[in-house]
Symmetry: C2
Subunit: 341 residues, 2 copies
DNA sequence: ATGAAAGCGCTAACAC
DNA sequence: GTGTTAGCGCTTTCAT
């Protein structure tokens, strides 16, 4: 009588082969092989694997195969909903393409050093391709590996000429909002342009530009550090009270959210007294607040990134940079411009 | 003259050893070895590795070592901020402990089949331990591997007697809120108890119990499917109008958020006419809305989960189940009970 | 269509 | 303190 089966993780392909009465080579071919295998042999091997609870050892496999088809994702901050959604969508698309993906995150949100560690974790696993969803890693850090593993940078707007990039078209998105504000009849608006966040700064600048081009007067508010939302907010309230603006544009939904209590406190009705716009459209449940904002095309970016990756896996091509437009969300925080005073 | 260095990923430890003028074994010892190595040898090896851009091959390493110290995380839905934060915190704690972690997510949010695939991805990598942050995988699916790899289930309240669990104390948290509502003088409140979400149902039931124990009359509202928030909300509005309640408790901040527009539409002031409480305290920026809610202790759970994991890595001990209390967030949506009518 | 055998890059005894 | 050597579990020529 047979002994009790050992723990599944200890079952090797050799054991499966024996159980199925074939050679290790044949067993291997059944699972991933390129060469054809007789149908009944195939059945036998599958049955044996099932019986033993065989879990293929990815380590051994990719070592022997000199590489794997597992893709890696380096994600900057999983606690940021925009990245969380991107992770989720990439995973879905990768699986849809019949590929696998593992994800790593740096141990801290800031610091190239930590991102490097995470990158090495992926490289150490000899992934077959990498999605990089963080702006902190410089292209230079990626460069040495480019010829061995396809890299697709996703999300961040900027990238290296040798690296494939699929990004949100922040300028276009900002313009969508600027257009909406102008079209609602506003002739003078505040735009929050943070100094310390690269992407938010870019958004703010683009919104200001879009307004100006449309003949809307812009009052630029350089919001101070992220923590103290109060400052910029109070400036906006003062501008409204002085009758200098009828709308305020924020470079993220979060900042708009932070402003709401101030507006309420100041007795300003939205949008009757003051129209407001955000940016991102990601925060779960935020739609319920009725924000007028632009939804960054996370799903599209994920889909395209995977398509680009698949193409790279087949055959390396010249790097391309794609910019994906978002969609305007017409909420209740943007209304027609009131008559001032 | 030497040829140009090959791609870093092609550099093997053998190459490093040659470059440093030592044997492969010594090089190995320098990187992870248990046996001591002469200081100047050590330097030489590090220098050689640096020069060549050596990236250790994790596959080969853990194959030879029959296992790795890389931990795996199976996370249910990275696009859910609560899971995103948990991911982030686990990563920070794992790194803090000098360990590595890779994360996998199922390709779709629902379906045991997809979670199984993700689980196998982790198992295939022969991780040294696993964090499981999903309720969908049944303990039975985990059971076959328990003796080979330590498993810590984190977040979900329920778990198997053979598996370590670190969870949020939902009952306690619900009671915190019930206490706060009762203490504010409310004598009659609505409690939303969804039928289709296990954890939300549990929360709702516990809140109702807590109120009842404190002599508060409970109007249970069985919110229908998740999509149509309207239904339950309208029932609450009606209850308030009929003068039957002065407060409403929701089993998630999201549901509370969904109710806000309805309350506004109905002309109900919060909290003057109606007090509201949520549950979770996670959604970034939600604090700005002034929700009275309970913050689930994600950071504590992550920290404890890693501590438990480390203990398991050292020596397998009897499984323990921990329940972690959250903290009450006193926001502006809970006020003193108004006189009815 | 299948089997035999040679590694993949590394670690872990075991010698010296 | 360092080198030698035998595998880890698997894929992949090369035969048959």
């Amino acid at each position: 009588m047979d002994n009790e089966a050992p723990s599944p993780l200890k079952v090797t392909m050799a054991a499966v082969a024996v159980e199925a009465g074939v050679s290790r080579a044949t067993a291997s071919r059944v699972f991933y092989g390129s060469t054809p295998v007789a149908e009944h042999t195939r059945q036998a091997v599958y049955a044996a694997a099932e019986r033993l609870g065989y879990v293929p050892n990815t380590m051994a496999r990719s070592l022997a195969a000199r590489g794997s088809d597992i893709l890696g994702l380096l994600v900057r901050a999983p606690d940021n909903p925009a990245y969380g959604l991107l992770f989720s969508e990439l995973q879905a698309n990768v699986s849809g393409a019949g590929l696998q993906m593992v994800t790593v995150a740096p141990s801290r949100n800031e610091g190239a050093h930590f991102e490097r560690q995470a990158l090495n974790r992926l490289l150490g696993l000899r992934v077959g391709g990498m999605f990089v969803a963080t702006g902190v890693i410089s292209a230079g850090m990626l460069e040495p590996f480019l010829d061995l593993v396809p890299v697709v940078v996703v999300g961040r707007p900027e990238s290296h000429p040798d690296i494939h990039g699929v990004s949100y078209d922040e300028d276009h998105n900002a313009d969508l909002l600027a257009h909406a504000v102008a079209a609602a009849g506003h002739r003078s608006a505040a735009v929050v342009v943070p100094e310390h966040s690269v992407s938010e700064h870019r958004r703010g600048a683009a919104m200001a530009r879009g307004l100006t081009e449309r003949g809307v007067r812009v009052h630029q508010v350089s919001s101070p550090t992220f923590g103290s939302q109060g400052e910029g907010g109070r400036e906006i309230v003062a501008l409204r009270r002085a009758g200098l603006i009828t709308a305020a544009m924020f470079p993220s939904d979060f900042r708009l959210l932070a402003f709401l209590p101030l507006a309420q406190e100041a007795g300003l009705r939205v949008p009757e007294d003051l129209s407001l716009t955000g940016f991102d459209g990601i925060l779960p449940g935020i739609d319920l607040l009725g924000f007028t904002t632009v939804r960054i095309p996370v799903e599209d970016a994920a889909r395209r990134a995977v398509e680009v990756m698949r193409a790279q896996l087949e055959e390396r091509t010249r790097p391309r940079h794609e910019l994906l437009p978002g969609t305007l969300i017409r909420g209740r925080t943007l209304g027609p411009a009131p008559t001032l005073r």
